[in-house]
């Protein structure tokens, strides 16, 4: 059933493109001549970046897990990290495919089909604007990319400046746990963009000494860490207000945590917190609001 839908989609796409052929490549508004016009992005973070630097019109397909922006959702989906639909990718005749750097096999396959690939490697926070600028050059949108990246850098800098000099509260950042309970807690370690954001926002990551992106901890380790602020990320679906209250209440059982005693448990919802794309700066500002509520009125 699935393949039938894929086949129909591909056929319709090819037909549409075939009809549009006479306009030829390089005539889309804004992109430099010779730039790729049929980009497929399997990496949700990069999809967001592409749309943010104005390269949206050049994108012809995205991954199955893309959620932003709305225009991206209208495009055909070609699978994701674990199972990209290589046949469909090739059928769509892309001139650039964004893949994860670790997917060497996929790159080799696409290379054999004569398709250029761009390997994306997830890194810390600094990697975001660096990748945006690099992407801008790759897709003929260097100027827009520079503008977008500079704007994001400015916002990050603003946060950094305004929280400087303030005491750093011990902050626990949890990005996964069993809903409604404190089991199977995944916290951010000292590596990765989440940890970088906590640091940027002027907090001290309680598990910053662990050199890993993700740390599975138990209630004992959390009680011993005595965080003054708990940031509990939820994504994948929206939470109604009563659900948010319930998730906040789940922390009440650890009554000795300073964060619980002072009511500083923040339930933050949305996947801008876990997709390392341009919306990360919104995430950083939201987290800074929790760690240093007065930061916006600072210098």
């Amino acid at each position: 059933m699935r393949s039938l839908v894929q086949l129909a989609t591909a056929a319709a796409l090819i037909a549409a493109v075939a009809c549009a052929r006479p306009e030829a490549s390089g005539s889309r508004p804004g992109a430099q001549p010779g730039a790729p016009q049929r980009i497929i992005s399997i990496v949700p973070a990069v999809t967001e970046m592409l749309f943010a630097i104005g390269a949206g019109p050049q994108v012809v397909a995205v991954s199955s897990f893309d959620t932003w922006p709305a225009d991206a959702l209208k495009l055909p989906k070609v699978g994701a990290l674990l199972d990209p639909d290589i046949e469909q990718v090739i059928r769509l005749r892309p001139d650039l495919v964004i893949v994860y750097g670790a997917e060497s096999e996929l790159r080799a396959k696409l290379g054999r089909a004569g398709i250029k690939t761009y390997p994306y490697v997830m890194g810390g926070l600094a990697n975001l604007t660096k990748t945006m600028r690099d992407l801008g050059r790759q897709v003929g949108r260097a100027a827009e990319a520079e503008a977008a990246a500079a704007a994001i850098d400015a916002r990050f800098d603003a946060i950094r400046r305004r929280v400087a000099g303030r005491p750093k509260p011990r902050t626990l950042l949890v990005f996964g746990r069993e809903p409604g309970s404190l089991r199977a807690i995944d916290a951010s370690g000292g590596v990765g963009f989440l940890s970088d954001i906590v640091e940027l926002a002027g907090g001290e990551n309680v598990f910053g000494a662990v050199k890993r992106e993700s740390v599975r901890v138990g209630t004992e380790e959390i009680l011993a860490a005595r965080p003054q602020i708990v940031i509990d990320l939820h994504y994948g679906r929206d939470l109604a207000p009563d659900q948010i209250d319930r998730e906040r209440d789940a922390w009440k059982s650890l009554g000795s945590l300073p964060a619980v005693r002072e009511g500083k448990i923040a339930i933050l919802v949305g996947n801008q917190f876990v997709v390392p794309g341009p919306r990360l700066v919104d995430a950083a500002e939201a987290i800074a609001d929790v760690v240093h509520p007065q930061w916006r009125s600072g210098r």
Binding site: D83, E178, R216, V217, L223, A225, L254, S256, V260
Partner: protein, 333 residues
């Protein structure tokens, strides 16, 4: 030595080990705490991190480890007797793959089944376990009166394969982080964080244990063969049914409490038989007590070895179980 005294000594010895584990385990952990502060009544509970660590983190997980270890070890003994095969485990007949499917569905799809202080995943996994048990039992009794252990085994293997394929299918629909969390669940986690999940699992565990108390003599006879047992006065079909349901119930409750922790159901019975012989009146209680102590020990290691990170306890049991089996194989050969 008369049997009565041997039973008494065995239970006393293994019981002492279990009690020692129960008492000592909450005293160790990744965070240094002071026992004096823990039991200092003058400090209010919410101001006392040491007490919170002791009573919220360590004590519940020690109790959970004891119950899960006892249940899996004892169920292992019962299943081995029922299937007349020392290689049978509590997971051979499909209970854990049903539980795994239930847990995976709960992790992947946003549905809330929380009830009485117990969150969705344990309830879903228990439901999955019960479903698997029902299907296996139905399959093995559909053709003839009574319970054929061969058909039981085949039904269990079939169900394991079928549920595994369903799990793979759900995995296909899940995103990366959901898959990772399911894989973690499969490795076991005893950090219950409160007494509610323990209390919820307790009635089922106690029901299982109550039947276990009655089974040992009948299990001895069952290992002679169905006819030989019947000829010595055992109601074979009733014994098989009781063994199957009690062990499945205990396993299902244990798996929903702490995940499908492997190897306990087979290492502990083997070790115990090496120490006390084959009589189930010794093996069953000794295995339950030793299983409790063993899992408590593994849990202590799991939460202290790479502190502050917590290892899944199933990894520890596997790391001990693997070499143990190698040794067994070499010893026999």
């Amino acid at each position: 030595m008369p049997l009565r005294r041997r039973i008494f000594l065995t239970v006393a010895l293994f019981g002492a080990v279990a009690v020692a584990a129960l008492v000592l385990a909450p005293m160790v952990g990744s965070a240094p705490i002071s026992l004096r502060r823990v039991f200092d009544r003058s400090i209010p509970f919410t101001d006392n991190p040491d007490a919170q660590i002791f009573f919220i983190s360590r004590l519940p997980r020690t109790l959970a480890a004891a119950l899960v270890g006892a249940a899996l070890a004892a169920s292992g003994v019962v299943f081995q007797a029922l299937l007349r095969n020392p290689l049978a485990t509590p997971f051979t007949l499909g209970v854990s793959s049903g539980a795994a499917l239930g847990a995976m569905l709960a992790i992947t799809f946003p549905v809330s089944l929380a009830f009485a202080g117990v969150s969705t995943v344990p309830i879903a996994s228990f439901a999955g376990a019960l479903g698997a048990v029902a299907i296996v039992y139905f399959l093995s009794t559909v053709r003839r009166h009574g319970l054929s252990t061969t058909v039981l085994l085949l039904a269990g293997i079939t169900l394991n394969a079928f549920f595994s394929s369903l799990i793979l299918f759900v995995q296909y629909l899940a995103d990366f982080s959901q898959t990772m969390r399911t894989v973690r669940w499969l490795m076991g986690d005893l950090d219950v964080g409160s007494y509610a999940p323990i209390l919820a699992a307790l009635p089922f565990l106690l029901a299982g244990f109550a039947v276990f108390a009655w089974l040992p003599r009948a299990l001895n006879l069952l290992t002679l063969g169905a006819d030989a047992a019947s000829a010595r006065g055992v109601d074979v079909v009733r014994t098989q049914r009781l063994a199957f349901f009690s062990a499945s119930l205990a396993t299902g409750a244990a798996v929903s409490l702490g995940g499908p922790v492997g190897f306990i159901g087979i290492i502990v019975p083997h070790l115990v038989r090496l120490l006390v012989g084959a009589d189930h009146r010794l093996v069953l209680p000794a295995s339950a007590l030793f299983g409790a102590a063993f899992l408590i020990g593994c849990d202590v290691a799991a939460r202290t070895l790479i502190a502050p990170m917590v290892l899944p306890v199933g990894i520890l049991t596997a790391m001990i179980g693997g070499p143990f089996f190698l040794w067994l194989l070499i010893r026999r050969g």
